[in-house]
Amino acid sequence: MFIAEENTIPASTGFSDSPENLAKHIVRIKHLNVHAGEHHILKNVDLEIPRNKITVLLGPSGCGKTTLLKCMNKLTDLYRELEVSGNIFIEKDDILNTTTNIASIRQKMGLLSQRPYPLPVSIYKNVSYGLKLKGVRDRKLIDFSVEKHLREVGLWEEVKNRLNAPATSLSIGQQQRLCLARGLAVKPSIILADEPTSALDPISSKIIENLFKDLKKHYTIILVTHVLRQAIRLADHAIFMIDGEIIEQGDPEELFKNPQTEGLRAYLVDGN
């Protein structure tokens, strides 16, 4: 069964399934295509995401960055018009062709969206819900974990005296960090961040950026951003897309200093 599945992967991608490559890359996407009716949104996307690094996804608006992220945690399921085909391996599991329970796939990935969506409950419960879903019942353990993750995002000192206040009473920047803590509490290995700082003030953005630098020790981060300087500051690996296609990917220094394609060159010029 397993072998048969392996055989369905076209050899032409050049990606290796060797143990060394598996250890290096946590996500491997092969021939990913997304259609919405006539509209070909993602075109034969092949890419590998290095483990415990920050991968930055760049490209003009509408090129399919959000769609690519949504494919990875299967939120594309919410949209019937989207047809997704290809392979997305998270570790060894091809999530597009698997029987693994969808909730547990999603729990491997924390999602941080453009604007924060705290759950309509208290600050404390926002973080503890995820744990409860995972079946943690021990009150002490939950308390401990809530504190740990709120500290992890630097929110603990600000909220420790108002844990029962509604999450919506926080500022947008704090809410975004709360959403990050909430995501971390379910112990993901990957963080999908879709323009996480675009609704934030410069200081909150900086806090999130610094958090990402710390978090990459334990998590793989895939970051979509339109802020070129942020990309330069954070990226360990960069991917540039236009119109659903990957145009360039690789070492960010190389990519930004010596763009090989006209598309990226134009994007960099406009971005600066």
Binding site: L75, L78, Y79, A103, R106, S113, P120, G130, T168, V186
Partner: protein, 286 residues
Amino acid sequence: MRRRQIKILEEKFFVFLSAFMTYSLIVVLAFIILVIFVKGFNALNLDMILKTPEGGYYYGGEGGVLNAIMGSLYIAFGATLIAIFIGMPAALYINVQLIRYRRTQNTIRFFLDALWGIPSIVYGAFGFTLMLFFGMNASLLAGTITVALLISPIMVRTFDEVLSTIPKGLHEATLALGFTRTETAFKVMLKQGFSGFITAILLSFGRGIGDAASVLFTAGYTDNIPVNLDEPAATLPLAIFFQLGSPIPEVRERAFASAVILTVIILIISLGARYLSKRYSRTNLK
């Protein structure tokens, strides 16, 4: 310069128009309530709400409309409860499970809107047919079921409207955390839509307690307070209707007093619901 003046004039005119319409509505409403109060004031006394009709009540004798108050409350509460059990899961189903199927959602909404628009006398006739089919008599149960049918579409659609305004981002965020759809529905959407849910209940209850046509054939009428589901039940709208038709002025006055009682009940329920919805929407995403 002239264009500017025209713009300012235009702006003033529309502000005036909207203010005028808003306040006229309030004035009309206040006027209706005032008329009912004035006309019913003489007949309004504790006996009206504490006693059932005694001999000769309908000719101006002693007694009150407690039978109708209780009957109406029983029917409206019962029907609302049934409608909640039908409406809440239905609205959640439309918005959570059917999220990928926009066309199905819209078809369902279309039919619910149509059901909402059907006059209540038609529900009354349908309830009556159903009642005969099952060999029941006009009773508390038959009335409650008929009213439940009448208000269920209102419940579903009102709640559905609220749920459909919940940002898709919240939905996605919950699923991304590993919630199943059912958990998303009951733990997040229901909470986020709680104040809307209260509004839905309120609207349904108000329609249920105030409707005369649906209970006309199905609940019957009696001077007693029903103690069993298979006994007939009086209702306030019908009490108003019967008393208003009387040739005796005192009895007609009592019709208005009954109308006051009905209005006050609805007012109390509204205030209570508002309080609840304020209290429980504190944590909601705005």
